[in-house]
Amino acid sequence: MTDLPQNTGQKLGLVIDLDTCVGCHACVVACKGWNTENYGAPLSDQDPYGADPSGTFLNRVHSFEAYFDDAPAQIIHFPRSCLHCEDAPCVTVCPTGASYKREEDGIVLVNEADCMGCGLCAWACPYGAREMDAKAGVMKKCTLCVDRIYNENLQEVDRVPACVRTCPAGARHFGDLGDPESDVSKLVSERGGVDLMPEQQTRPVNKYLPPRPKDSKAVMHGDSQLEPVATEATGLIAWVDRMLEKLP
């Protein structure tokens, strides 16, 4: 049934640090690489080497510019993937029971054997986390690499989602956000992690760490630092100045 579980044992999810993300898209590539050959149908591309390429991705990196009144403007790279919401609207709208949220760890998954490809779950998701695969005709989404994190054939260091394992900047963290003592929960409380679009009432599990405050405009362009050091020219410069003045 596509009812949501009352409580999930764990709340596995990601914490994404917008301060550290450098926008390299390595997580996008690692995600596509792992997920195109593991859980469910491959992530197909259409016209990949032609004039109008498109394809299915479970993770995408946007870049935003932010203007502040009291600080210089910033470019902020913003990785976007499924937030494994506690009140996941994508799950309850599913008519076939293909979409579900796991009771044991809160991961939101699609059982592709049941999906009829109506696309209503993608409409219900405010975050654009679901993409219909144009080749397979079934809905694809982040699985939190469910086939890695419990995979005892992998070394322990690899039992995290592919995006987390590959991030060269350490901007992605994986763990149990339902446990207040976990590293990710501590990170969220220390850094003031936020929900995306809380007004959509989805209660996302994934959290985003906002960029740390940077230099303020007062420090960078303060009056004291830009005072002219000399108002009257002297010496050689003064002579050049006088000579130039004499030119017609």
Binding site: R60, H62, I75, A98, W123, C125, V138, M197
Partner: protein
């Protein structure tokens, strides 16, 4: 949102079909014999044809039968179940009216209520989506029901009910447009809430990909705005004003039928706008600030 022709045809045709079944079931009119055959045939053609059209927008139709399973949480599943129930229950009354010249009011009324339920469920599929602020309102199912009953009354030849229905539909359609034009800003979703970045101004600097993708094709459709006000006038004229003028001139059956056809053409335009004008909050990630 992408105004897919299959979904527009489905909602307009099945809306009209179930509207007819709602009228026929409620005994307005209660035909028998050949008249019943013609009216029920048209109702079933529209309702079932619409359902068939909806199957065309499924990417994986072999699993469509599973759509009857999730009635506890999914309005799409409820719609599917109500639609089949409405068609089956109404069929008993239709069969008896056509072949035994006997109207079965109990089956008629239950079929009528199930037909109304089906249309309301269709509206709820859209109304429940908080991610599409323009649809996320109780006005949406009311709009679908008023449109459905108007078409049903016109095509079953019920002039008084049709006038009443068309006026209701006109009021609701205007309310939906007035309410809808302010719905996105009222929803509170902005590029700032979408990214969690608190700043005076947040805007997209670089998209994640240069080409298109499923999200952009399906949910960030934008063509409708350019001619939206012109299309609204066309929709109001064809779906409401012209049918009312026809009814004012004549309430003969051919006139009612003509009014019904004009109304359905107008409904296609109105339904196209319903999708094309609806903004999904995911557009905020692609620099579409509503």
């Amino acid at each position: 949102m992408n105004p897919a022709p299959s979904v527009i045809l489905f909602t307009v045709a099945s809306g009209a079909g179930f509207g007819m079944l709602a009228m026929l079931g409620a005994g307005m009119p209660s035909p028998t014999g050949w008249a019943a055959f013609l009216l029920f045939s048209l109702a079933y053609l529209l309702a079932v044809g619409g359902l068939a059209a909806s199957a065309f927008h499924l990417a994986n139709p072999k699993n469509a039968v599973k759509a009857f399973s999730q009635w506890r949480s999914s309005w799409l599943s409820r719609e599917a179940i109500l639609a089949i129930a409405a068609l089956l229950v109404s069929a008993v009354n239709a069969f008896s009216s056509v072949f035994f010249e006997t109207v079965l009011p109990v089956f008629g009324w239950v079929g009528s209520l199930l037909s109304i339920g089906t249309v309301l469920a269709t509206g709820m599929i859209y109304a429940q989506l908080r991610a599409v602020p323009r649809w996320n309102s109780p006005l949406t199912p009311a709009l679908f029901l008023a449109a459905s009953l108007s078409a049903g009354a016109l095509l079953t030849g019920q002039p008084i009910f049709a006038v009443f229905g068309l006026l209701m539909y006109a009021a609701l359609q205007l309310a939906v447009w007035v309410h809808g034009d302010e719905a996105f800003p009222r929803s509170g979703s902005t590029s700032s809430t979408a990214t969690g970045i608190e700043a005076e101004h947040v805007s997209l600097f670089e998209a994640p990909h240069t080409g298109s993708n499923y999200l952009l094709k399906e949910m960030v459709f934008r063509i409708g705005r350019k001619h939206a006000s012109r299309l609204r006038v066309i929709a109001l004229s064809a779906a409401i004003a012209i049918p009312l003028i026809i009814l004012f001139i004549s309430t003969s059956l051919p006139a009612l039928f003509l009014a019904g056809i004009v109304h359905l053409c107008g409904m296609v335009v109105a339904r196209w706008l319903f999708f094309a004008e609806a903004e999904h909050v995911v557009g905020l990630y692609y620099g579409r600030n509503a």
